[in-house]
Amino acid sequence: MSALSPAPTEPHVDSLSTPASGLMKFDQRRGSPAARAWNDFCETRQLWRLGVMLGWLDIKLRYRGSALGPFWLTITSVLMVASMGVLYGRLFHQDLKVYLPFLALSLTLWQTGLASLVQESCTSFLDADSMIRSSRLPLLLQAVRVVVRNAIVFGHNIIVPIGVFALYHVWPGASALLAIPSLLLWGIDGFAASMLLGALCARFRDIPPIVGALMQIVFYVTPVIWQPEQLAGKARFLLYNPFYALLEIVRAPLLGHVPSAGVWGVAVGTSAVFCALAIWVFVRVRARLVFWI
């Protein structure tokens, strides 16, 4: 019935002919947009190794040809912390022994944590355009990729504050463990940001610069280089800034404090609303995303 001559086939790897291979089963692609988005999520969960690999390769590529690799970032951070620490310590009349560990941790958490997650999530889908257009892969894989990539960079940079802590013999103690669930929350928020900002930025190309400009403002109004205590009695207004709460739930434990219930509440509450918004938008636009990129 086939018009083909039964030509001898080239030797070929049999391992892929097994049903365990990554070929797509189609019956998963039916139902409402929400059901399809859920399938996207489930497939992403199955392919998490691929997401991790993509994130890792991104980092490898970024620093290909440089002997120090991602540690270039570490060096930049050291220089930045050292110069800013001396300058702002003087400007704010701070004791370097207290201020430098705070600044080192703060800057690292902001730059390679929150700010970089927000900025990179904008291009989560745009960066993977050829991959998305040419093969059938779950879209949320790209969100995993963004989070993994940021986690790797973060891991290289967290050395800087640890070094400063060692230098000044400051240790946070057991409260540091509280930073673990907080970092997980960052990961979830980063995933949601990749869904929401990634989708919006694919549609409207002027959003990434807008986000960049806004994050610059947020950097100055959030206590990253200055300390909340410097606001004296007005520090309670900081709770209206969700970035403060998100930063504080990681920073405070690492500085040996336990964040207040209010800070936790704002951080978790904002994250919940943000995730809900991200899911809502993603479910609505998922099928159209491929035409936007």
Partner: protein, 260 residues
């Protein structure tokens, strides 16, 4: 049972360009449209918003057909007739809620020779990425590497970034990777016809092994001899619709007659 069934399937997509890409301009236009009443010209035509509105392309409209296991279907038609779009819908890359798409069986699409490859990564790294995507077990990767390396004949280029490859090398690597899986539904775009004569001869065997193993083949091509040789049925697409559907000989003769 492996099959593909389409019922009244349509697909339209936006083509975004210029101002429609800008949030600022889109918002401005929307705001303007609510403030100033749209100027009415004759019937119900609206002016003003059109400049920034995305163009909506009706790529497929009202497709209804069924492909059973064992069929080898060729898609022909002019450029822009919807062949590649249909292939992407069948591959699950484009989704539509307009109509019924019912596919039974695992599918693999050869849409583009660089499919999912990262041009900055080396050939070997791309192979590992591909293996990870396809869920190849660790112990089989070495075998896969040897197989692809031998077929693609890249030599030392295998460990250089793919962007440095000549187009022929890129196609050889893409082809070698894309032809590894053994799906029951195989969807192919015409790119695999590319390459020089030597490559074509070499690729033939590898391709035929894959096509033989598949229960359903859907292939787009402008090459009538290839379609005559491989297909049992031809779908002639025009303007996103099926113009003619039938046995290879009948449809291709009619197609040729229309070209003459």
């Amino acid at each position: 049972m492996t099959h593909i069934r389409l019922e009244n399937l349509s697909l339209s997509f936006p083509v975004l360009h210029g101002a429609s890409r800008s949030l600022k301009k889109t918002l401005l236009v929307r705001a303007k449209a609510t403030v100033t009443k749209p100027a009415s010209v004759g019937g119900r035509m609206r002016l003003g918003a059109a400049a920034s509105d995305a163009v909506l392309v009706q790529a497929l409209s009202g497709l209804t057909f069924q492909i059973e296991g064992g069929e080898r279907v060729g898609l022909i038609g002019h450029n822009g007739a919807g062949k590649s779009t249909l292939l992407r819908v069948l591959a699950g890359i484009y989704e539509t809620t307009d109509g019924v798409l019912d596919i039974e069986g695992d599918s693999h699409a050869l849409i583009d020779p660089q499919s999912g490859m990262n041009p900055e990564l080396t050939g070997r790294e791309n192979l590992h990425l591909f293996a990870c995507r396809m869920g190849v077990a660790k112990e089989h990767i070495a075998g896969l590497e040897a197989d692809v390396e031998a077929f693609a004949e890249l030599g030392p280029f295998f460990d250089l970034p793919v962007r440095l490859y000549s187009s022929g090398m890129g196609i050889r690597l893409g082809f070698a990777l894309a032809t590894v899986p053994r799906p029951s539904i195989l969807l192919m775009d015409e790119w695999f016809m590319a390459g020089d004569q030597r490559f074509q001869d070499k690729a033939k065997n590898r391709m035929e092994g894959m096509v033989d193993a598949a229960e359903i083949l859907v292939v787009t091509s402008h090459s009538l001899p290839v379609l005559r040789k491989w297909c049992t049925r031809i779908l002639w697409m025009e303007g996103g619709q099926v113009r003619m559907d039938g046995p290879t000989q009948t449809v291709l003769d009619a197609y040729e007659a229309s070209l003459a």
